[in-house]
Structure formats: structure tokens, C-alpha cells
């Protein structure tokens, strides 16, 4: 048996280029990990964490579970292309190994049919079975490809309204990829027309081809050459195109399992892995309220990453990063779990650096310390001062539960610092955080309860306080379970709005629902939990004008009013204020509903 032909050269060149550039790129990124990230890797590298990483890489890189959960057809498309091709390669290698027990060049698995002309029955005992399996796998991949072509024409049935606008290089690479499998089919058919060495599908097609008189070694050779060129082109372009995500995602999953996280202050090696693990699938586009309600379609995660990756003109990068509500919807939707909003903050921090000077906060010293030993600390948050109903309700609940409390920002509030942080003013935010930390730690309070999800997330994620932090819905839920307060069940019908920072931000979905279930009839809405719509007034954005914010809010209101509730409940003062400003519908905080129904 022959095992070399000139036409394998394009393929081999492509593979070598792919290997060379990938190793170079990954090496450069790994060297860029910052000190903390390096320390985490060094600490965990010999742990068992590679086991869950392997499982996750298999599940997400090949089976695409998260995508399938969004839309099974879309999942099938990605899975058949990824897993199907993977199996073609693996089974191809086994097949070549059995046919050439004494070793074979690495391209043998790819061009097997060309080189092994003998009747399958004569090669090795199970060869006919292998031929059939390979045909079935090729069919599997081709079905995914057909769906991909169909999606290009009409993406709705695959669960996507808008798809990504790709760069020219990505389009060329995709074209090369799309050519690979039909060319393989054609080449194998051409070979089987002459030598009758195909499986159930190829042989049937080959007989057809021979039937119309094409059984020509010259034609066969051209087909295999084109197939090799398509493969070579794809592999050579891969490190510079979106398809770099295929390998990068595996690394990202591994580093993430080791405990490495992105850091908004600088572009680290991990950032590079995240930037390149994005498959440009475009799943982050449809859910974004700025796309949905305002038809602005160039700021979503995929374009943010694109602009950072391509070192776009700074101004473009900044305007993309600034025009976002930080509602985290895209973060929840992204099947690769890329920390998109850390990336946005990264650009914002760069941009604000010249004006991120120290604050003019001399007034912080006028806030007096308080001895709160034996009490809980209650932090209403700036926004709660605009919704006094919420803070009054909380005070009534504390009293009903017999809980001593310290309302730390009753008359002089210091912002938690998250709004500044989200805009990229780190220095100023740190001054506020330092003061709040000092006040809380020195007070001796046993826990911190806050009514504002923005503050809640900040205290929880960004402060590292020595005492536990609760949102008031968690706290009320605890009081109810512990039997420290009792509630009447009213017959009011309530629709609950999940605030971005509380739901997607901190994963608090069940506590408010349990409370509302205990006091009223809780209704389901179409878009809830992870799919909840932003109220439009999220402080993450300074670019949208009020009219645009109102449109986003109205869409959220419409979703909430659809099941025809008597009242809309939420658990965030900013959402509440945003909704009440529409002056259309009664809106109450969960705390207010609880306070009204207390049985004393």
C-alpha cells in the first residue's frame, strides 16, 4: 500500500502552521498571567481539579450542552459539527491503526480511503464495520453543516433573531470549513467509484457515480487535492480567526476550574484566553435590552470582545463599553461563561484613568462611628432614600421580629461605591469602601442587611467584610422560616420583577418568591429569573438618555403586567423608582408587602 501523495502537502502545512502559531500564542498569553493568577495556578495545578475540567471541556467543547439548553436545534448544529468531526478524527485514527499495525504517517487517518484501495473485507477483520461507521459520522457532520447553512438564511428556527456580523477573515475561514465536509464526501465517492471501498453511504454514491461514467483516477486526485487544500486553508487561518475558540475554550475551562478569575484593572493573560474563547456565536445579542428595545446592535458582548481583540480605535472600544446597562443578561446567556462585564469595566477603567483622581470626600469624617454590639446593621442604600416606603417597612419588620438594629445610613449615607466602580472610578470608589468598611467593622454589628441589590452585591463581592451580608429578602425569608414573624396571606395577585443585580448578579431568585408565596398569590411572568428584563435605570449606564431608558423600562413593565396582577413587586429601590415613575401601576417592594401583612 502506498502512503504518500503530493496532494497531502497543503494539509500537512496547515497542521504545522496551526500547531506553531497556537503554541506561540498560548505561550505568550500564559506568560502574561498576573501575579495573583500565577499564584492560584501554582497552588492548584497538582490538584484533582483537572478532572471536572476534562468533563466540562467535553460537555461544552464537544457536546455544547449550554447551547442545547437554549435551543436544541442550535445545540444539535454545534454538537454535530464539533463532536461529529472529533469522532471522525478519532475513529479514523483507530481505523488507520488497525489497517497499518506497523505504523503509518499521521495523514493516513484523514485520507484513509485514498490510500487503502483494497476491498474492505481484505484489510482487517472489522474494516467493513469501520467503513460504515465513518460514513455515518460524515453524515452526522453534514447534517450539522446543512443546519448551519440554513441558519445563515433563516436563523429563527434555531432560536436566534440576530446573528453576528463577522469580520472578512472569519468569513473566509468559515467558507474553508464549510467546504471540507462536502469535499470529503465527494473525494471518497470518487474513490469508491473506482475501487469499491466505501461504506453504506459512500459506496451507494460511488456506484451512482460509476453509473454515470465517472470512474476516473485523475478526477479522484483533483477531489482529494481540493479536500486537502480546504483543510490546509482552514488550519492555517484558524489561529487568526474565530475558530481559535475551539482550543482556547478548553484552556479557559481548565484555568477557571483552577480558580483563576479576570481582573478588571488590567489586561492579563486570562483576559487573552477569554477574548479568544468567544466563538462569536452571537447568543449574547438577542437577550440584550439595548438590542431588543433600542435596536442598537453594535455594543453586545461579541462586539465588545471583537473591538478589544482587534485593538480597534480606542474611541470605538470605549463607546461600546460605555453603552451598556451592566444588566448581566449577556453574561447569563453566554455559553462560554465569559465575564463580559469585567471586560467592560476593564475598558472603562482605562478610559477614566486621567480623571480617576482621589475624591473630594472630606465629609466622610463627619460620619460618626456607632457602637452596634448585639445589633444587626441595616444599610438602606442611597436609592432607598427615594423609596422611603421600603426602609420604613424594614424598620417595622425589625421591630416585629424583636431585632435590635442600627440603621447606619439613616441620615448620612455614604454610597457603597459600586456605581463609581462600574464607571471605572476605582480610586474614588476605594475611598468610600474604606470608610464604610471601617464603620461596619468598628460597630461590632453581627450582620449586615441591605435593601439595595447594588450595595448588596458590592458588600458581598467587593468588600470582604468579616460579618455575613444579607439582602433584605434573604433576611425576611430567614425570619419567616425561624418563625420570628408571621404573615397573613392576602388574595392579592403579585407579579415579581427580578432585579438584575439581585437575580443574575447574586443568584437570589427563590427567597423573594417564597416570601411572596406566603403573603399573596404569586404569578408567573414570561421573562423571569435569568431572563428577567432590566428596568432600564440600572446605574451601569451613563450613555442612554432618559427616553431610551424609558423604552427599556416599558418593555419590562409590559412583561410584568401581562399576567394581569394587582401589584408589581420588586426588591430593588432603583427598579421600584423606575417603575413608579411610569405612574401607571402600583409597585411595591417585597418588604412593603411583608410589612402590610405582618400579624403582630
Amino acid at each position: 500500500m502506498n502512503n504518500f501523495s503530493i496532494y497531502v502537502i497543503p494539509f500537512c502545512t496547515g497542521v504545522l502552521l496551526l500547531l506553531g502559531f497556537s503554541v506561540l500564542k498560548y505561550w505568550r498569553w500564559i506568560k502574561r498571567f498576573d501575579k495573583l493568577q500565577q499564584a492560584i495556578i501554582r497552588k492548584n495545578i497538582w490538584s484533582w481539579k483537572f478532572l471536572p475540567a476534562i468533563w466540562e471541556a467535553f460537555r461544552e467543547g464537544l457536546l455544547h450542552w449550554r447551547i442545547a439548553k437554549k435551543n436544541w436545534l442550535l445545540g444539535y448544529m454545534h454538537r454535530s459539527l464539533a463532536f461529529g468531526w472529533f469522532l471522525l478524527i478519532v475513529v479514523g485514527f483507530v481505523q488507520a491503526l488497525l489497517a497499518f499495525p506497523d505504523g503509518h504517517p499521521f495523514w493516513m487517518a484523514i485520507f484513509y480511503n485514498y490510500f487503502v484501495h483494497e476491498d474492505n473485507l481484505l484489510v482487517f477483520p472489522d474494516a467493513p464495520l469501520f467503513a460504515d461507521i465513518m460514513d455515518a459520522l460524515l453524515l452526522y457532520v453534514l447534517s450539522g453543516l446543512a443546519l448551519a447553512v440554513f441558519k445563515k438564511l433563516w436563523s429563527r428556527p434555531l432560536g436566534m433573531k440576530r446573528t453576528t456580523r463577522h469580520t472578512p477573515l472569519d468569513r473566509v475561514t468559515k467558507f474553508a470549513l464549510w467546504c471540507i465536509f462536502p469535499l470529503r464526501l465527494l473525494s471518497e465517492t470518487a474513490t469508491s467509484a473506482i475501487y469499491h471501498n466505501g461504506g453504506f453511504l459512500i459506496q451507494w454514491l460511488g456506484n451512482g457515480m460509476a453509473g454515470i461514467g465517472i470512474a476516473d483516477p485523475y478526477f479522484e486526485y483533483i477531489c482529494w487535492l481540493l479536500y486537502s487544500i480546504a483543510l490546509g486553508t482552514f488550519f492555517a487561518l484558524m489561529p487568526f480567526s474565530r475558530y481559535m475558540h475551539i482550543f482556547t475554550e478548553i484552556f479557559l475551562i481548565y484555568f477557571r476550574q483552577l480558580g483563576v478569575r479576570d481582573n478588571a484593572d488590567q489586561k492579563s493573560g486570562y483576559t487573552m484566553f477569554e477574548l479568544n474563547a468567544c466563538s462569536r456565536c452571537g447568543i449574547c445579542i438577542d437577550g440584550c435590552p439595548i438590542n431588543k428595545e433600542l435596536d442598537i446592535t453594535n455594543i453586545q458582548g461579541v462586539y465588545l470582545l471583537q473591538s478589544i481583540r482587534n485593538h480597534d480605535w480606542r474611541k470605538r472600544q470605549v463607546s461600546i463599553a460605555e453603552n451598556c446597562l451592566m444588566c448581566d443578561r449577556c453574561v447569563a446567556d453566554c455559553p462560554v461563561n465569559i465575564d463580559l462585564n469585567v471586560m467592560r469595566r476593564h475598558v472603562r477603567i482605562q478610559n477614566k484613568r486621567p480623571i480617576d483622581t482621589s475624591g473630594n470626600y472630606s465629609y466622610l469624617d463627619t460620619v460618626q462611628p456607632f457602637n452596634a454590639i448585639g445589633r444587626v446593621a441595616y444599610f438602606g442604600g442611597c436609592m432607598s432614600h427615594l423609596t422611603p416606603g421600603t426602609t420604613e417597612a424594614m424598620e417595622r419588620i425589625f421591630q416585629a421580629a424583636g431585632q435590635k438594629y442600627w440603621y447606619m445610613d439613616r441620615d448620612r449615607s455614604i454610597c457603597c461605591g459600586r456605581p463609581l466602580l462600574q464607571q471605572g472610578f476605582t480610586t474614588q470608589a476605594n475611598e468610600l469602601r474604606r470608610k464604610n468598611t471601617e464603620l461596619i467593622v468598628n460597630s461590632g454589628a453581627t450582620m449586615l442587611i441591605t435593601s439595595c441589590p447594588i450595595c448588596y452585591r458590592s458588600f458581598k463581592e467587593e468588600y470582604h467584610l468579616p460579618i455575613p451580608v444579607f439582602h433584605h429578602t434573604e433576611y425576611i425569608d430567614y425570619l419567616l422560616t425561624a418563625g420570628r414573624i408571621k404573615l397573613r396571606k392576602s388574595d392579592r395577585r403579585v407579579a415579581y420583577h427580578d432585579p438584575c443585580e439581585l437575580g443574575r448578579g447574586c443568584g437570589i431568585y427563590d427567597e423573594p418568591r417564597r416570601i411572596l408565596d406566603a403573603t399573596s398569590t404569586l404569578l408567573k411572568t414570561k421573562d423571569e429569573r435569568e431572563h428577567s428584563r432590566c428596568c432600564g435605570f440600572n446605574l451601569g449606564n451613563t450613555t442612554l438618555d432618559t427616553e431610551e431608558q424609558r423604552k427599556i423600562r416599558n418593555a419590562a413593565l409590559e412583561n410584568l403586567r401581562q399576567p394581569n396582577p394587582d401589584v408589581i413587586a420588586t426588591a430593588c429601590p432603583a427598579c421600584k423608582k423606575a417603575f413608579t415613575r411610569a405612574e401607571e401601576f402600583p409597585v411595591e417592594d417585597v418588604a412593603e408587602i411583608v410589612a402590610e401583612n405582618l400579624i403582630s
Partner: protein
């Protein structure tokens, strides 16, 4: 420390022949909603930072609009970007964008 919600402002006058309104005009370009401001002072009344001090956001943006830029940058650094002013403004002025853009203009840095 400012105990009351109000204090008496110094008399001010703007000589429009000499005032340099360049930055003020640029501000209106960058934050068009500021054209809607009626100077009601709702922003100042709600302001978290203003509770402690004589930081007065309405006065700052009014002065800015009249070309009196001196000392404003330092004063703007008292703002915590908490967004209360935004939610109370009856005219829908994007006050937080206003604050960030004033700071950008006063420091001659690029717009977003």
C-alpha cells in the same frame, strides 16, 4: 457642615462678552438632555453628597453652563455617582453623564 437643606449663594454675574462658553457648548453636544434642564434644583435636593456638605450639583452645572469653570473639577469629585439626582430629575436630564462629561471637559480628556 451644612445643617440645613438651603444656604445663601454668593451673588454672581456672567459677562457673556468675555465668558468662554466653549466647554459649555461641547457639554450640550455630549449630553443633549441637559438642554431640558429647568434649574429646579431637584437634583441638589436629592443629592447624597449634598446632605453632608455645601456640594450643590445644580449650582455646579449651572456655573458650568455659564462658563465659570474655576474650581468645579475639585468640587465635582465629591459626587459618588449614586444616581439619585438622575431618578428625581423631572426633566429627564442624564445627570450622571453630565457629571462625567464635565469632568472630562475640565480635564481635557477625550469623550466616550
Amino acid at each position: 457642615m451644612n445643617k440645613f437643606g438651603f444656604s445663601i449663594a454668593h451673588t454672581r454675574s456672567t459677562d457673556l462678552d468675555t465668558a468662554n462658553l466653549g466647554k459649555a457648548e461641547e457639554l450640550l453636544q455630549r449630553v443633549p438632555s441637559y438642554k431640558l434642564c429647568i434649574g429646579c434644583g431637584g437634583c441638589t435636593a436629592a443629592c447624597t453628597a449634598g446632605l453632608f456638605t455645601d456640594f450643590n450639583i445644580r449650582r455646579i452645572h449651572t456655573q458650568f453652563a455659564r462658563g465659570q469653570y474655576k474650581g468645579l473639577d475639585r468640587r465635582l469629585q465629591s459626587c459618588m455617582l449614586c444616581g439619585k439626582c438622575l431618578l428625581v430629575c423631572p426633566r429627564g436630564v442624564n445627570t450622571r453623564a453630565l457629571i462625567v462629561e464635565m469632568r472630562r471637559l475640565l480635564n481635557n480628556t477625550d469623550p466616550a
